[in-house]
Amino acid sequence: MIRHLLSCADLDAGTALEILDTAAEMATVAGREVKKLPALRGRTVVNLFYEDSTRTRISFEAAAKRLSADVINFSVKGSSVAKGESLKDTALTLQAMGADAVVVRHPASGAPYQLADWVDGSVVNAGDGTHEHPTQALLDAYTMRSRLGRLAGLSVAVVGDVLHSRVARSNVLLLSTLGAKVTLVGPPPLIPVDIAAALAPGAAVCYDLDSVLPQSDVVMMLRVQRERMNDSYFPSAREYARRYGLDGSRMRRLPEHAIVMHPGPMNRGMEITSEVADSPRSTIVEQVANGVSVRMAVLYLLLGGNNR
């Protein structure tokens, strides 16, 4: 097993499937009266969050607590300008506190890599800048597998602001490793031209959502910030929604079995309409529940043994 979870590029197919299989066992705990396992008793997990992300933080917190770990939440407010204590000093503090794992969310791409150099414990990347969000990709893969029964051979369309999306990067890497065919869809300024070469040679790029839908088993809609239009990535929210938003009529062009995913939080009316988000094809609520199981699996596999 790997020592840290920093990038989906570090996961080979065997390790990724081990995480998903372990998550499936962890999921059975959620259905029990006693939602607790003793596996990480006496271990300390620190949630180090430099960005507000209540949903990711509570998901990791629930995961760690269900495994009986002690959880310390460490929220660092403030922008990069008024950053206060340095990441290195914070790392040394966590080290002194005996953190066995640090779950880190940070606005700067790569910050978890540096943290991993400065602490002895395992580092879990809970989203770094516009780089990666590996546990999100794992829970997405878990959700696809539980809905569709497989990952190999699936056609997955990832739609929206790929350029700024850590979710997209992690998903392209992981899904390609697991044998799915990924197509990235969005307005050209938001799709890096060299994304396939950079991440997965098998990935495809398409600027026309309607042509991709009939062949897709999964459509993953990414959050698109309205502010991007102020930087000329697209002219207006209305034009974006018209060309790349998923509404009821587009959803009906999907194959019967296809599912719709969104990592949340959603911009209803922008990249996805309520009709789609609330439809039976939508896995958005399942994704949240699966997040806890997948994070339990990751924490167990990183901390469950003497992997030093």
């Binding site: 299989d21 066992e25 009266e33 006693v34 003793p38 167990y300 043994g305």
Partner: protein, 193 residues
């Protein structure tokens, strides 16, 4: 699964090997335990067999099959994975978690018979009791093992024992079963015999 995991003790001499139970012995022993369970549980009423991976699981299935053959009673069989309850997780690399499969009727109010291959320190059974506690509240819990090799470290005893084998700590007991291993056999390794 033997616990601690059966390992050859390092020795410069060629370790001795001794077959304790042959294939025919194993079948006889399973038949006997099945009969004993029927006797002690008033015909296996309200009884659930839970196998502890790895080799407790096929043993539990065989016991259920023999009980069915003898009395026509279908005893629910399940799997109780104890990995996450072990007290030695940190002494090894991370162990893979196996499935826990509790029969549809659950275990609340039932008589649970835990089934394992070798009873040694008692720590596996301790972990199994903890795991059971999180899955439900059985009326009572019993323990069936193919081999009891002694050296208990906890106050635990088996209700059904296939064979008692006095061993030295340096020795190890290996159980193989047809389902995972191809052949039914119990062997004793090591020591200076």
């Amino acid at each position: 699964m033997a616990y601690p995991p059966a390992a050859h003790s390092p020795t410069t001499r060629q370790p001795s090997v001794k077959v304790i139970l042959t294939s025919a012995d194993v079948q006889r022993v399973v038949d006997r335990i099945a009969h004993q369970i029927l006797e002690k549980t008033q015909g296996a009423r309200q009884t659930v067999l839970l196998g502890i991976p790895t080799r407790g699981v096929p043993l539990a299935r065989r016991l259920a099959a023999r009980i069915s053959a003898f009395e026509g009673v279908d005893v629910p069989v399940g799997v109780l994975d104890i990995t996450l309850y072990r007290d030695d997780l940190r002494q090894h690399g991370t162990r893979a978690v196996g499935p826990t499969d509790v029969p549809a009727g659950g275990i609340d109010g039932r008589r649970v018979v835990l089934v394992d291959d070798v009873l040694f320190s008692g720590r596996t059974v301790r972990a199994a009791l903890d795991a059971l506690n999180d899955v439900g509240r059985p009326a009572s819990v019993q323990l069936a093992v193919l081999v009891d090799r002694g050296h208990r470290e906890l106050p635990i005893r088996a209700d059904y024992v296939g064979k008692n084998i006095p061993t030295a700590l340096a020795e190890s007991v290996r159980v193989t079963l047809a389902e995972p291993d191809g052949v039914d056999e119990v062997r004793l390794y090591g020591g200076d015999r």
